[in-house]
Symmetry: C2
Subunit: 400 residues, 2 copies
């Protein structure tokens, strides 16, 4: 850990990711360390090695329940050979990766460290825990005492939101089906996506019901994955990179944990608060005009619509029709989740929020291949914990 004077800006100088999917041959420690290797190799000017990492922040939602492993910071530090680096494990349900990014951002801002590595990782495919996956997901996301014990599941919570949304805004499942259709198409262009396969709107609409009105193709999958970003204080950046991606705004919001305490099922108050904080810091006053690309948290199709509205990109109830009409498609006026989103890139809980940052960096740097958004300069990543008790919004930009 290198002591230094305070820096005013924090940038991203390295990215690592392993393709999301079912990795039966890779353990939690292997997923993380493979992605970390990629991140070290990605630093533009080279020369960034283990001794240069000021702190390690691991975003992981539920290794205890999936693979029986706590002390996750130490596991990842050990596996990656980062034994001289102080490490933290941050948990905030499936916003864990985004929360780890924000904790790392604050730590670099403190001036006590010059760089930080953020590792999002989740090992979800495991023979011993898979029979309990519905229970694990519910206990990871929801209020155990007041929601899980009485029988609520992760999917049924969002199904209630979808029903309320349909009723309140007069839209229907056909509109909703445009979300997974779009995200599955985008994933066909992303080599790191879990499901590189397109589905028609009709297929989404007719997929097996999991919790009415949500079908199988409205639900994000069970995915193994690891994503990594390396942050650095601005004064250190020229040593490592001539083209950093800047974190211009970082916001976080909270809401009641249990759905029954909230005033509305069709807005995410935590997302509103997070967006307000992040946009204020980044100087974004008109998000619809100033933002070029969004990575949104579609743990379920309905969540993407509500999140876009809660951030102020659409009026309440209007994201459904806009998505239906293609506005949020890759070639639309406001591309959302070019990566394929949680639905099709995959949703390895703790990795997801960091993976969104990886995707935005690739987009802003013009390295997103066939899914590249033209002239993307400002990106927004939005992450949700569970049904919305925690939310994070980060604004990324590049130097003009």
């Amino acid at each position: 850990m290198i002591m230094s004077t305070r820096k005013n800006e924090v940038g991203i100088i390295g990215l690592g990711e392993i393709p999301y999917g079912e990795h039966w041959d890779l353990s939690l420690r292997e997923l993380a360390s493979l992605a970390i290797e990629v991140a070290f190799d990605s630093v533009q000017k080279g020369g960034f090695d283990k001794g240069d990492v000021g702190a390690l922040f691991v975003g992981n939602a539920a290794a205890e329940m999936f693979v029986g492993q706590g002390h996750v910071n130490a596991l990842v530090a050990d596996a990656a050979g980062l034994l001289n680096v102080p490490s933290f494990r941050i948990e905030a349900a499936d916003a864990s990766g985004a929360a780890a990014l924000r904790a790392a951002y604050l730590a670099v801002k403190s001036g006590m460290i010059d760089t930080a590595m953020v590792v999002g990782v989740e090992k979800m495919w495991d023979q011993t825990s898979n029979p309990r996956v519905t229970s694990i997901l519910a206990n990871t996301m929801l209020d155990h005492d007041w929601e899980v014990e009485p029988g609520l599941t992760y999917t049924s919570a969002f199904a209630m939101m979808a029903r309320a949304y349909f009723e309140e805004f007069g839209v229907n499942k056909e509109h909703l089906s445009a979300v997974p259709e779009k995200n599955h198409f985008n994933a066909t262009l992303n080599p790191n996506a879990h499901f590189k396969r397109a589905f028609t709107r009709e297929q989404v609409l007719k997929s097996q019901i999991v919790a009415d009105p949500l079908g199988l193709l409205d639900c994000s999958p069970v995915t193994d994955g690891a994503s990594v970003v390396i942050l650095a204080a601005d004064e250190k950046i020229p040593e490592y990179s001539d083209s950093p991606v800047w974190i211009k705004g970082s916001g976080q919001g909270q809401d009641y944990l249990a759905l029954h305490s909230r005033e509305s099922l069709t807005t995410f108050e935590a997302v509103k608060k997070a967006a307000k904080m992040a946009f204020k810091q980044a100087g974004i006053t008109n998000p619809r005009e100033q933002v070029d690309v969004i990575e949104a948290h579609d743990s379920f199709s309905i969540a993407e619509l509500i999140a876009l509205e809660s951030m102020g990109f659409y009026q309440p109830g209007k994201a459904a029709l806009a998505t239906f009409e293609g506005e949020t498609s890759l070639n639309g006026s406001l591309p959302v989740s070019p990566s394929g989103g949680l639905k099709a890139k995959g949703h390895p809980l703790g990795a997801t929020g960091v993976g969104q940052i990886v995707e935005l960096c690739l987009q802003l740097l013009g390295k997103a291949g066939k899914r590249q958004i033209k002239d993307a300069k400002v990106g927004v990543a939005q992450s949700l914990g569970g049904t919305g008790a925690t939310a994070l919004v980060n604004v990324l930009t590049i130097d003009e």
Copy 2:
């Protein structure tokens, strides 16, 4: 969250704790929110309320496994009515509380927030998880794949350390028994301790063997508890307190997760690194002379001895005889764990590291009642994750 310019020092302006023990009538959320109420009420000048909390850092080791609850940041924020406060849950096995304190310290140092609340909490007594407590503790602390699957437990790992220590330094179990004897005596003077009961050295020596050579009275107990501290940037402190306790140094170190990877079983490399970092920042060059009181992490009796040596208070192997001769007793030259330590105050995993800070603040402020160390001006808190893959050391002082 209040934006502000950067502060150079971080102080503690509030403390809260509920008595550690078996709280069958209190849930995880209740333990946390009761301690938070005490902390709000403790702020010297009053006027510090929910709207003044810049961020919430929750240290919790294993709520997923004990009570089936992840998303612990949101649970605590919700229970305490802190819905407008961004929150993080930090996990680092039984160093979770100390890691949360350090993450909060860095966040306040960032200048992005003026204050932070650190809540350490663990609910360990639960009818559904208690039959699995040995398994839960092993999975929380150790390397699941390489230690737990082959059969190592939390206690047997420390038993190996004790055996190695005896062999290397020619001391024996009689010397070791002085640690729990001292800590149990101290706990008789602490109203918040789980076991306010003294044991003779003889009783410790003859207690039922758990993992040879460690007996029942060498092992910290299963305890429910919650401890809270409120941090503030120096510029904000005069609004709330005329007698803050300052965090003068904060250090963290890591080591291999699995014991078999380490060079020595009789030193904690992570504690060495953490102490070096914290002492350097605090300007401590001669710890034995400059430190007045220590709270050490005696998850097992042997751990206290090794930790004192790894921090540099004693040469390797010398802490045993010093303890045996009373040097670390309440009226000795270097009082260690006046609170009663993990053994007798109790070890509610995520709460413990924050509880150590609460005890040191009481000691430095002269509010430690019958266990008060005279003229204590500099205190050191030392926390260990599991068998030592994570360690934190914090140095606290008061204005002269």
